[in-house]
């Protein structure tokens, strides 16, 4: 029995009244929303620093503002999802490399203030020329650039650690997807952020965004294919609500990419493409989240791969 080169175990087994074996995450929709906004923040920080260093000031501004807004939303979602939001700061008691959530907290703790400083530096040109404000006006550009570089240095980590965050659980469809989730999420982050900035930035500065969209789409489509070819634990990505969302995300990604390339000359087409890319990124995150819930709630996804592993180990021991 083989599907996509992966042996599929027999589909019947005894369970305890069909009840789940592992507990599904108690995380609410805040967490997929955070995956989405965290990716936007990271991608926008990268875009802002690229624009800054290549002299695209409008794109730099949109990137920095988008990054701050998105990281603000991310922080809200993370705190809001806690069972005890007032104890958020307990995350800062320890730094644990064995806990992707701890690692992510510290990534955010560096990224957030840097993205904030870069965005705030954009008020520089509006400040009076003299006195203390004059000084602030003069140091705003170099401070903004330095802060932007710090945020961009943390951005790839911010966009990809979330793949590890989900994978480092007993949730079968997340854990097994660990080689691909960080790639899927980095593609989704870049596509979403490029989309957001396509809406916000002038056409004249959007050249890098169009190239970025193509690369992001390639990354996301390739990683998505792998996630759908893991055998039994891929079923939750292919079927049900997650399957619908994942396909919708892919369709929007393709439409947005084509639109971004063909709509060079049209502000409207560019903006519509940007919206499609944003929607695609959100759909992908909610789809991956939902697939995990589905795989946790059905004991077959926990039992059958483990049974197969035991059978194979026994067979290997006999040889």
């Amino acid at each position: 029995m083989s599907r996509d080169g992966v042996t599929v175990p027999p589909l019947n087994f005894e369970s305890y009244y069909g009840r789940p074996i592992i507990k599904a995450p108690v995380w609410r929709w805040d967490i997929p929303a955070y995956l989405f906004t965290g990716g936007l923040a990271a991608g926008s920080a990268l875009i802002a620093v690229g624009a800054d260093l290549t002299g695209r000031s409008a794109l730099r501004r949109s990137g920095r503002l988008a990054s701050l807004a998105a990281v603000g939303a991310s922080t809200y979602f993370l705190v809001h999802d806690l069972g005890r939001p007032a104890r958020f700061h307990h995350m800062l008691r320890v730094a644990k490399p064995t806990s992707p959530m701890s690692v992510g907290t510290w990534i955010l703790a560096v990224f957030g203030p840097a993205a904030g400083a870069a965005a705030v530096s954009e008020v520089g040109p509006w400040l009076p020329r003299h006195g203390l404000f004059g000084l602030a006006r003069r140091i705003a550009p170099p401070v903004g650039r330095a802060a932007g570089v710090v945020s961009a240095a943390m951005a790839p980590a911010l966009a990809t650690y979330t793949g590890v965050l989900l994978a480092d659980t007993a949730v079968p469809s997340w854990h097994e997807a660990y080689p691909w989730l960080p790639f899927l999420f980095s593609g989704s982050a870049l596509a979403g952020a490029a989309g957001l900035n396509l809406v916000a930035a002038p056409r004249a500065e959007a050249g890098p965004l169009r190239r970025l969209v193509v690369a992001a789409a390639g990354l996301e489509l390739a990683a998505g294919r792998r996630v759908e070819r893991m055998g039994l634990v891929s079923d939750p990505y292919r079927t049900g609500p997650a399957g619908v969302l994942l396909r919708a995300g892919r369709a929007l990604l393709v439409a947005g990419t084509v639109g971004a390339l063909l709509g060079r000359r049209s502000r409207v087409v560019s903006a519509l493409s940007g919206v499609a890319l944003l929607a695609s990124s959100a759909a992908t995150r909610f789809a991956v989240f939902q697939a995990g819930l589905t795989s946790a709630r059905d004991p077959r996804y926990t039992v059958l791969p483990q049974r197969q592993r035991l059978t194979e180990a026994a067979a290997a021991a006999d040889n």
Partner: protein, 270 residues
Amino acid sequence: MTETITRYEPGEPAAAAGYVDAPPRMGFFTDTTLCIGCKACEVACKEWNQVPATGLDLLGMSYDNTGALTANSWRHVAFVETDAHWLMMSDVCKHCTRAACLDVCPTGSLFRTEFGTVVVQEDICNGCGYCIPACPYGVIDQRRDDGRAWKCTLCYDRIGAGMTPACAQACPTESIQYGPLDELRDRAQSRVQLLHDAGVPEARLYGHDPADGVGGDGAFFLLLDEPEVYGLPPDPVVTTRDLPRMWRRAGAAALVMAAVTVAAFLGGSS
């Protein structure tokens, strides 16, 4: 993608956590052949640990109206009725040698005690919920009206005072046995041997092997059928076993992300 599973070397979790001169590792051996399904363990646990009631839930599937280990049920007596047999089993947190819940906890709320057990500190837990999907046995759970994660403490307060955990104390048949893990493992081996000699070939131990995917359980079982029949995973593996590989994949994805951004900004005329 078949991969050989790296099994863990046996180890003492308390010593690994930094305790010097730790007392012997303590645990549970739950011999399901002795269980009569009286649920005295469930009740004793609730009483001693002041675990809130779950209300009147009739699940309508068997004599089991507890259903599963939850934040408000730290012992759970499973009832399995088949044509072949009627099985009862009191389930509990396994106090894993490699505990995923503890590994992933971002606040340090979950910790390893000097007895090698795994305990949540309720004044530290901020209800992030990460431990819950990390546990390969589906044990630890969030208490909804409280927001925090709760599970069996192996009666940390009682065993610290030299007493027996409430469930084992209340068990009228000694189906739940408490003691130093080494002794329990020896006792379990002879019990299985006895059952095999008495013509019960289906008797088997579960969670006793320090070389399994979680490094062995501090609370292990004697079962009469496959683990999944009781709602247990047949081959649990601590999720953090793969974590170094996961970080490497994330690092590679991060590099690709940075590289395509550089290329997008440098590689074109517009």
